[in-house]
Symmetry: C2
């Protein structure tokens, strides 16, 4: 039974610390049978966890959790494994977020197939370190095979190319990384290396010389990365890390509604920079243009083909951040959404998103395998020159055998299986859109392509006013802003209430790219990828949100606060 | 039974792809009982794997593995989980490196406690994403508690400090990272941020402005990181990433034998840079000085206290890379080795090394918690300003609940248990050193402190010559070099033979810091941390290496090649 709660964990039993006991804890040729015994116990415990009903986030207040995990000292004495597992059950499992819950549609973390747990057991048992063949034998080859699959999925080169390179250790078709941020960092580090190559004379390339000397040597005033306003926050963070600074990441506007990079405005942005270049008398170097295949806030895909053209004209590395959307390439008729992705010099994908692997694993693919050599590095004691070690190409050092999970998932689910999963997600997306559109108190605020829906609750009265005012948005600008401020407040409040109620979960963000642009609009954000989410659940979720929203609207304070606006607007 | 081999995996059974089948694969409230069934099967399979006798690396040639993992297409159709697990057993598990084998003493990847597998099962089942509280409730607090333990282990602040900050969400005591490289990168990104802060006027700080503008604004000609020649190869890689280039990482000499940074020579290095600064008319900015607490090649610890003094004089961030050695702070009488570590502004540790967690997890601790704010970043849709999200401080985005493993290990093993493990490792180290010293055909080439022993096979005849020649190294320089070249070749060959024989494993590297300095000497590298390695195994390993070495020495070709040297030396 699942009755164990935080407060009735039995006190741990004392045990004597001996080396013999320590020996038994470690994996060895005559491995302990306790492993099987505890394994069985744990399988039951995990099984229980998934069968638990109740809230998504557990009711415990954060303050109480802070008190539970409040021991400032490393435990001196050993505890029995059984006791620690009970403590984990009571204090951690019971108070973890049920991200697999089909009503949890707020983040990209969704349900994972249960076989992922089995695969992780294998990966951790083998404990291979992918950095070098000496500690990762078969797994090195599995990683290359998996990278080949992903490369082919994205770039669709002739089979001859893949036959030649699938296990070609002189290059890398791509890198497996700890997450999408490191995948993007890999791509942009490559862009940097390509922009300032060694010239065979005095200059050894930026990886040796550094950014300031490179700019000087090549005569540039600055190095820039271009991406749309929907670019993932990691791009900015990476800009800081790579030394170009967040100011070196230039965000250009998107089309309202579609959230796709506005190519005209992108050129305007570029022209503005060039104008400044002329004034200063030194050009800027465009390191990379980043296209987005699945914006994390709105699930939209840039016009990847048009972006490729821009990158070419700028002589910039073209990176496509498909961390969110990349997996959807497995949909046979989804490919057209991604037209042009094969023109990207590098593409990043996340396995823990649309490949349904556990947190976290990123992938960075290189169109030209020669590019992998631009990230090449070696060391004396591992990843030696001329070795077959994967670590020669990666930004990271030691890495787990994470790719086992998506590799095996491709076999167990199969391409057709993924197709069904995505068809289900598409279906949910369409249903949710319809439900929102048909409800006068909800407003749809994006044009979803990849399973992310932005919407908000708008009290009927305000909605009607807004619609009327929007017939002449310029004349009514001030009033539109005022009402939206109120609606923003309502939706922040609504999001909090949803969290407290805890029977469903959506996230929230703030977008400048709605029909009210450039006003920043608070939106709720739903992601419909959990295969166990059913249409009737989406209905339930919206009903609940509507009820909560109406309650807030009826709240006197808010009413009073908005009354004078209403009065002023009554004659619109 | 464990008879399944690569070549007799049964052909996969065909199954029909339906959405219903897909549903059943995913975790859900009425989760499938198949999970328990497969879990049991897998526990047995893993148990078998650890009981297998035989070679460490599996005999299969790399070329044959390349042919197994040679399918260039993503599988179209689903396969039964059972069939995929059998394939994994035959093709992957059977051909993985047995890093837990007590005769595998060549890399830092060792045996892990079996309960780590159980903990990983829990972590992956919960599938929390540590980036934000909305997808990581209890686990956010566990991470902070664990970071508090590590911080206290390193910095030993008064308990009042930890009581106040253990769950203080406004700061981070440190970051959990995917590995030590990212931990070091976190530290050096912090160093960069501190070196060029915003000045409240025109300059917004390097994270916004970038490195070139920062140098210009503050009037520096370059930014540098200082580390000894034993610095981990990641420091150089990070130099490239951060934009200072590998030339921005200055390696200063170490003392021969001890492999500790030579402080006098460090100052000489600095003075040389300053002299050049004067010539150029612009100073260099020393971003960081990196002390090493456990060099990865030789297991030595810099004089951390003296290094702290240098960093202070340079006004540089003082980082201690304790990725290898940090865990040894758990030894009560090991602390004196680390004297001065508490003066480091940041310290990195790896959980997958001396905390015996699986691959991979790094930790970066901040002495001054205010420093964590210098890495602070937010985003609209997650890690919002004022939130309690861990992701506000990390270089990475999504992160798994990796800290569960070392956190629980601290409870299950306890500080006393770790002490016993380290005492065992110290004992093995001493025994191995004695065995090498007592064998006329082996030469010890470092002064091990933290479980890493460098040695080489030297045929008796050559050893005697070398010893005589080394009485006057300057006069005999040429001859010493020639003999060492031969011994280097023998040891490269020996290492290959050890790999082929496959009953034991040590790694090899090349060191300039032996008594033959500055000659680069090929050394074998043994790491004695596996709790299941016993003294008699070390004896066996050396006997085997000696036999293999003697075989090589007797090999005619090599003999001929060295004959003329011998002839010339016969009268030494």
């Amino acid at each position: 039974m699942n009755s164990l709660r935080t407060d009735n964990i039995p006190p741990p039993r004392k045990i004597e610390t001996t080396l013999e006991y320590m020996h038994k804890l470690f994996i060895m040729p005559n491995s302990s049978d306790r492993f099987i015994e505890f394994g069985d116990l744990l399988l039951d415990m995990i099984h229980d966890f998934f069968q638990q009903k109740g809230g998504i986030h557990s009711e415990i207040p954060l303050k109480k959790l802070a008190k539970i995990f409040n021991n400032i000292d490393i435990p001196q004495n050993q505890m029995l494994i059984r006791d620690v597992l009970q403590e984990i059950k009571g204090n951690i499992i019971n108070h973890s977020v049920k991200v697999a819950n089909p009503y949890y549609i707020g983040h990209m973390t969704s349900a994972i197939p249960y076989f992922m747990i089995l695969l992780e057991m294998i990966a951790v048992s083998l404990n291979q370190n992918q950095v070098k063949i000496e500690s990762a034998k078969a797994s090195t080859f599995v990683e290359r095979e998996f990278l080949c699959w992903m490369h082919r999925l994205v770039y669709q080169n002739p089979s001859q190319f893949y036959k030649k390179n699938i296990q070609n250790h002189r290059f890398a078709l791509g890198n497996i990384t700890s997450d999408g941020t490191v995948a993007n960092m890999t791509a942009l580090a490559l862009a940097v290396a390509k922009a300032f190559p060694p010239d065979g004379k005095r200059f050894e390339g930026i990886r040796n010389e550094g950014l300031p000397r490179s700019l000087e040597y090549y005569g540039y005033r600055q190095a820039l990365v271009l991406v749309s306003r929907r670019g993932h926050y990691s791009i900015c963070k990476i800009g800081s890390i790579l030394g170009i600074g967040s100011k070196g990441v230039v965000f250009s506007p998107v089309h309202p509604y579609t959230n796709k990079a506005d190519i005209d405005k992108l050129w305007q942005t570029i022209e503005k920079i060039r104008k400044e270049d002329k004034r200063v008398g030194k050009p800027s170097r465009f390191l990379a243009l980043v296209g987005i295949a699945g914006t994390t806030e709105t699930g939209n895909i840039d016009n990847l083909d048009a972006m490729a053209g821009v990158a070419r004209e700028l002589n910039a590395h073209y990176h496509v951040d498909a961390a969110w959307g990349g997996g959807a390439l497995l949909m046979e008729n989804g490919r057209e959404l991604f037209t042009g992705i094969d023109k990207a010099d590098s593409v990043s994908l996340d396995a823990h998103k649309l490949l349904f692997s556990p947190n976290a694993m990123g992938i960075c693919l290189f169109k030209n395998i020669d590019d992998s050599l631009k990230l090449y590095h070696t060391s004396n004691y591992i990843i030696r020159k001329g070795s077959v070690d994967l670590g020669r190409f990666t930004l990271e050092g030691p890495r787990p055998f994470a790719c086992l999970k998506p590799w095996a998932a491709m076999k167990i689910i199969g391409r057709r299986g993924y197709e069904l999963i995505f068809l289900h997600a598409c279906g949910l997306q369409d249903i949710f859109i319809t439900l929102i559109k048909n409800d006068p108190q909800f407003e749809l605020l994006n044009t979803p392509e990849l399973f992310i829906i932005n919407y908000r609750f708008v009290p009927k009265e305000l909605r009607e006013m807004l619609d009327r005012l929007m017939l002449d948005p310029r004349a009514n600008a001030e009033k539109i802003t005022q009402i939206n401020n109120v609606v923003n407040e309502i939706n922040v409040e609504l999001h909090k209430k949803i969290r407290v109620r805890d029977t469903s979960f959506v996230s929230r963000t703030r977008l400048e790219s709605t029909r009210y642009s450039p006003r920043k609009i608070v939106v709720l954000r739903a992601i419909t990828i959990n295969p166990n989410t059913e249409p009737h659940m989406l209905e339930q979720i919206l009903v609940e949100h509507r009820l909560l929203g109406e309650q807030i609207w009826q709240d006197r304070n808010l009413l009073r606060k908005t009354l004078h606006i209403c009065n002023k607007l009554i004659d619109v």
